[in-house]
Every structure is written in C-alpha cells, then in structure tokens.
Amino acid sequence: MGQLRIRSRHQPYEVAVLIAAPICGTLMMILNVRPTSVQTSMPAPIQAAWELGLIAVGVGGLLGILWPGRLSTGLGLELASVLVLGTITSMYTVALLVMTGRNSIVATSFVLAVAVGSLWRAAQIVVDLRRLARACEFMTYDQLQAGVP
C-alpha cells in the first residue's frame, strides 16, 4: 500500500511565471506591441492566440492553484494552464532561436527553461491526478465517511 503524496501547489517559480504571463499579455495588448521575433515568425491569428494564451494561462493557472473546491478540478485547471504555458514558451523559444540565433542565448535559455519547467510540472500533475484517482478508487465514499466519525 503506497502513500498518497500530492505535491504542494504553491511553487514559487511557477506562481511567479503565472503572475508574469497575464501582465505581459495585457501590456502587449494595451500597448499593441509584440516581440519582433514573434511578429515575423508567426501568422497573425497565431500571434493573437499566443497573446491571448498568455493571459488565459496566467489567469487559469492561478485560479487552479487557488481553487477552493475539489482538489482534482484545481489540479486539472493547473494542468491545462501549465501545458499551454509550456506550448507558448516553446513557441517563443523556437521564434527566438530562428530569428535571432546566437544573439539571444540568455533570453532563449530562460524561456526554454520556463517551457521545460512547465512541461515537467504538467507531468507531475498527471502523476498526482493518477494517484488521487487511485486513492479514490481504493476507498468508497462510505469508507471515507466511516473513517471520520
């Protein structure tokens, strides 16, 4: 019988990135500016989706982390946000790589790190959700109720 360990959802790097993402997206939208690499390497609709995605990811991710209801719903929201965040940052990494090459080694590395971290976190959440599902399968709700008189 294994132990059920759900990892803490308040991970500083993740939360910081999730807070930064919607700010970044909103500022880009308000000021109507985009990184040159994004402008040149993505078709216009994908650019808009990319920008909206940043906002959605931040809001959704923070919502998932702070979700007051079911743990599984919160984890699901966070999983979706983190997956999309990984996608968005991967896209930006590719754009930077192709457009600027060796001139932006630092920026590319950090953005790539965020992408890798996001996908890593997504994998963690998938494992946690599996464990949670197994734990719920292991005990019926009656057992849960009986366990806590």
């Binding site: 993505m42 078709p43 994908i46 743990l71 999309v84 896209m91 754009a95 457009m99 719920c136 806590v148």
Partner: protein, 132 residues
C-alpha cells in the same frame, strides 16, 4: 536583444509554430475535458481526502480506542466496588475507634473496677456492625 530581425521568417517556421500552438492549445483543452469527464473518479473533496496511509493509520487507532474504552469501563466499575469497600471499612474503623475510646475511658476512670470494665466490654459486644 534582437539585432537584425529578418523581415519575414521562413515559411516552415510559421507552419511549425502554428502546428505547435494548435497542438499545445488542443492538449490544454483536452486536459480540462479529461478532468471534467473523469470527475466521477474523484469522489472525495479536498477537505476529506483521506489518503491510503491515513486510512491504515485510522483503522488500528479505532480498534485501539474501542479496546481502551472497554478497559476504562472495567476500571470504572472496579473503582465503584473499591469505593464501596472503603466506605464500609471507614465505618468499621469509626465504630472500633469509638469502642476503643469507651474502653480506655472505662479503664482510666478513677473509680474503675473490674466489674465496671467488664460491664462496658459486654455492652460493646452488642453494638451492631461489630460482628464482622
């Protein structure tokens, strides 16, 4: 950071990024959909999520508690019996002390005679509760 941006990226980059974006967005939506569809699997709320480990801890604790409750009940009834005995013994001690005082007074009396002392002792033989 961007020193010499090319006016337009190669076509394959645009295609690749579009595909990547669609795939990523799709996977995000799929994740939400999966969790919503499989919601039934997660019966417990966050608050009453009992882990397997916790359950294995709780069950022995519950049996232990019932054991201890039984023992506490036994101990309490035993305590009642003992208290009753103590009460009886206290009564006996009081009676004996009183008898002893009376005898001592009879012996120490200035006009004490063997007959009077004997009379006092014979009198205390009739005191109830002393036959125990």
């Amino acid at each position: 950071m961007i020193t010499a941006p090319s006016p337009a990226a190669p076509h394959w980059v645009q295609v690749a990024l579009s595909v990547l974006g669609i795939l990523g967005g799709g996977s995000g939506l799929a994740a939400i959909a999966t969790v919503v569809v499989q919601r039934g699997k997660f019966k417990a709320d966050a608050a009453d999520t009992l882990t397997e480990a916790a359950l294995t801890l709780v069950q022995p604790l519950q049996t232990r508690i019932t054991q201890l409750e039984g023992e506490a009940l036994n101990a309490r009834s035993e305590l009642g019996v003992l208290r009753e005995q103590v009460n009886q013994l206290q009564f006996v001690v009081r009676v004996l002390t009183r008898t002893l005082d009376r005898w001592r007074a009879a012996i120490r009396a200035p006009d004490a005679t063997l007959r009077k002392v004997r009379a006092t002792v014979a009198e205390s033989d009739r005191i109830p509760g002393m036959d125990r």
